[in-house]
Each structure stands twice: as structure tokens, then as C-alpha cells.
């Protein structure tokens, strides 16, 4: 099937597992989707367009991802909440120096403890994947939210 890139399904599966990992509140497993040396940022379309360097979340090591989770678990005060991710089909944009570039749309609903549900974030994942291993690992993920408004707080990673 020439029209299908060999990596397509592996990455689609990885994306889907990534989303389930977060939505199932298995956050401790979340960093394992990334390479040890990785970049993870959450920013907005406007900031991305304007080339702003700073992020809503910034991590340039897997350790920082781990710290995010332990902070959520041990340190930070916030109300219990959950996400539901729905993802578009990954678009394969070709090989970059450090891996395979893809872009994937997302919608995330947030469900508060009392059941209140709202469309919390929409946007796209700008990713670079290491496809050498058994399952693809994230080398770089820029989460570009369409909006730069965030309701109350952003505790759980996107």
C-alpha cells in the first residue's frame, strides 16, 4: 500500500496510547512516551505565530516531565479533574534531522469533579518522533493550542 507511510500506524497508535495514558490518569507513565533528551512545550497559536520563546509549560528533559507529574501528585493544590482527548489523523511531514515530523489535531474536553464538562483546549501537536525503536518515541512535542486563554489552570498535561 504505497500511499501509506510505514510509520503511520505506529505513530497513530502511539498518539492514541498517549491520549489514553493521560485520560486514564496514568500520568506516571506519561514521560515514558518521550526520549530521555526531549523537548515538550505548550504554547498558543498566537505565541507560535509571534515567535515567543516562553511557554505555558516548558521541559527540555524527561526529568522535567517527571517533575510535572510528581508536582501534581505531591505538591500542587487543584480540584480533581480529568481530560478526554480526541485526536485527528497524524499528518506525516517528512524526516527532520532528529526524526520524523508529524502534525496531529486535537480536541480536549475537561471534566471537573462535579461533572461539569467543557471544551477545554483545541489545537495541534507539532511532533518529531524517533522511529528507530520498537515503538516511536517523542523527541519533540510542541503543543500549539488554538487559544491563548486557559480556564482557571492547566494542571494535567495535554
Amino acid at each position: 500500500m504505497p500511499s501509506i507511510n510505514d510509520h503511520f500506524f505506529a505513530i497513530a497508535r502511539a498518539q492514541s496510547d498517549y491520549a489514553r495514558c493521560i485520560d486514564d490518569d496514568r500520568l506516571e507513565e506519561w514521560p515514558s512516551f518521550f526520549e530521555e533528551a526531549c523537548l515538550y512545550r505548550i504554547t498558543s497559536a498566537a505565541s507560535h505565530r509571534d515567535g515567543y520563546e516562553a511557554s505555558v509549560v516548558f521541559a527540555n528533559s524527561r526529568g522535567m516531565l517527571t517533575d510535572r507529574i510528581s508536582a501534581l501528585r505531591e505538591a500542587n493544590i487543584y480540584e480533581r479533574q480529568a481530560y478526554r482527548h480526541l485526536l485527528g489523523m497524524p499528518a506525516l511531514l517528512g524526516q527532520a534531522a532528529n526524526g520524523l515530523r508529524t502534525e496531529t489535531s486535537f480536541m480536549v474536553a475537561r471534566i471537573m469533579q462535579d461533572g461539569t464538562t467543557d471544551l477545554y483546549a483545541t489545537g495541534r501537536y507539532l511532533d518529531i518522533w524517533n522511529t528507530k525503536g520498537e515503538t516511536p518515541k517523542i523527541v519533540e512535542r510542541i503543543v500549539v493550542c488554538d487559544s491563548s486563554r486557559f480556564d482557571t489552570l492547566l494542571a494535567i498535561p495535554l
Binding site: S47, Y52, V56, M64, D67, L153, A155
Partner: protein, 421 residues
Amino acid sequence: MSQQAELERTVEGMPNWPGDGLTRVPYWVFQRDDVYAREQEAIFQGPVWHYLCLEADIAEGGDFVTTFVGDAPVVVTRDSEGAIHAFENRCAHRGALICLDAKGKGKKDFACVYHAWTYDLTGKLTGVAFQKGVKGKGGMPPEFKISEHGPRRLKITALHGLVFGSFSADAPDFKSWLGPEIEPKIGRVLAGRKPVVLGRYTQVLPNNWKLYVENVKDSYHASILHLFFTTFELNRLSQKGAIVVDETGGHHISYSAIDRKTNTASADYAQQKIRSDSKYRLADPSLLQGFDEFNDDVTLQILSVFPTFVLQQIQNSIAIRQVVPRGPDRTDLHWTLLGFETDTPEQRLTRLKQANLIGPAGFISMEDGCVGGFVQRGVRAASREQAILQMGGSTAESSESRVTEASIRGFWKAWRAHTGI
């Protein structure tokens, strides 16, 4: 009914203020529509200075940004001579937004999309389409004078790269507005160097704007609500530090510096049995490795200018927070993250990492983002009950201790003086 009459009516309709005026705050001030309306009038359109933008946001002639002063949409511009102007984003004709864009460059004038009434960069009405009609038919009557119309213009002032404005001609001179203590501490962070905007985002708060302002001025909560501060010794009440409250009460500075003497804090904390004194450590501590930016060991300086401006230095994380009320129980918090042209790449990276402390996902600020909502919901049925503000006494004075609510009492002192409530 006259405006004055209207005002008195409004204030009269409200319950009486309980207690001595500063140590008790009735919860209805966070709930009532008439209080909100009164604030819009007396504070946001009153003789008060409001943060508009950075000078850097409108660096060149023809640059503009749009923002809000309370409920009022506002356009801020720089003209070709380099002068800064601001005016209500409301067409003099029939009230449409004059400018639809968040920002822009190279603007010569603004044309309202509805009927093309045009305004120069100062907000002056310069043209009325078809004023003389077509073929001598229609058009505006001779008695209509363009010069007599236009959107409300704001008085403007700028300090250390910050632009402030006021709808009221009676706004005091800005320096005297700030008083002697505040200006130098703004200067400490911003003076003599060129800021670079590193990021921008908005945090939507599910609570009245005053609950967030209280939170900013609340040095008491910092070491308790925020585990990060205490655990990573960003801030210890037992560090050197103090609260500065200006004479009006409306402005404040809270700062802390590394105490190079033996730190007896843990003991104090132990006594309080506060959950915030955990054994929690980071896998990648580089997050918190800062550089000494000010040669004064001050690791934290939170500065507020009445009513809604905040300048923050948390280690090397410098940010401006603009608080915009959106209704009695909703507030927009606009963050502008700053670096400086002189930053080395290492310093810049440090700022990017420390940005994890602030904003909606900030290890610190996420908690400030939700706690206001906890209060708004907690007091839902308690409009006749009151908050207790006695920590550190009953006055609104500066103090060496930060175990005080002095600067919050100061806020209410200023708020009551302005609103007459």
C-alpha cells in the same frame, strides 16, 4: 436621573459595611451587580491610573494595541512624533469598535468599518463619510462639528517602559499617585534595560477580580498554599523580607531575600504542622537554578499598583499581570512574560525554565488561579457573612513581617475611598 443622583442611589442600595472597615470584608462585595457597576464608574472610569501596555508593544510610530480598562475597550497608539495616545475603542457615531485587531503596525488612521468615520492616531475624529452628502443631498447638518465629537480619550503616562492611562482628567500626577516607595522598586526590575516580550497568555479566573487582587497582596498565603516556595526555599517567611504598603493602601510590595544567617524557619514551620513543608525534591533541579540578576539577594518581589497592575519578580521570572474584570464572578488575568535584550542565552533559557512557575500551568500560579474560585463558591450562600482580615493587626501599614494581611487591608482602604462603599 443625573449621574450623581444615580451614583448615590447605587451606593445607598447596598447593605452597610460591617466592623471597623478594614478587618472585616462582607462577601456581598464579590457578588452584587451594583457593586460591580459602582467599581466600573468610580475606579475604572474614575481618577485612577490603569496599566495599558508596554512601551515596547508600540515601539514605533503607527503601532497600536487594543486592551481593556475595566469593561471599556481601549486602543493605545504611538503617533509619528513618538507620542503615546489612548482612547475608548468606541466609534463616536453609533458605538462600533473602532479597531478590531489585537495589535498592528504602520497605522496612519482608523476607519470604523460601519460607516467609515475616521480617527487619527490620537483618537481625534477626522472624517465623517458623506458628511456633505452626495450631489448635495443628505449628509450631516451644518451645526454638526466634527471637532465636538470623538471617543473618550485617556490621560497617558509612562514609567520605566510601562504605559498607564486614565479616563478621568482628575487623575493625580502619576508620581504622586505611586508615592515615594513604589517607583524605585518598579525601577529596580525594569529601569535602564530594554524588555523583550517572551510570552503572553490569559488565565480566566472563575471569581471576582478583587479576590485575585487580595491573593496578590496576600503574603500570608504564599508559604502555605504554595509548596514550591517553601520546599525549594524560594521564599521563607523567616527569610529577610518585608511588606511595603503605600500611604493610600492601594499599592504594595512584598519581597524576600536570602537570609545568609542560619535558617530557623523549619522549626517555625514544624510548629504549624503545615502540609506545605514536604520532603519533595525535583528530578531536574535545573528548573530552579537562577542567576543573581539584581545583586541584592532578593529572590522574590511582588509589586502591585492599585487597582489591577502587578509586576512580578520570582527569581529570574519577570512578568506583568493585568487584571481585567469580566463580571462579578469572572476575571481575565493577562500575563506578559519578560526578558531583556541583555540576556545571555543561558540567562534566557533560565527564564524559559522558570516560566514553569507562573501562569495557568505554573507550579505556583496555578494555585492562585483556582483558590479565588474556591472562595467565590465557598461564600455563595454567605453574602451576609464576612472575611476576617486581622493577621498582623488592623492597620494598613508596612511591616517587616509578612505574616500579615496589612496590604490586603490597604487594598480595601483604597477601594472604599474610591467607591464610597
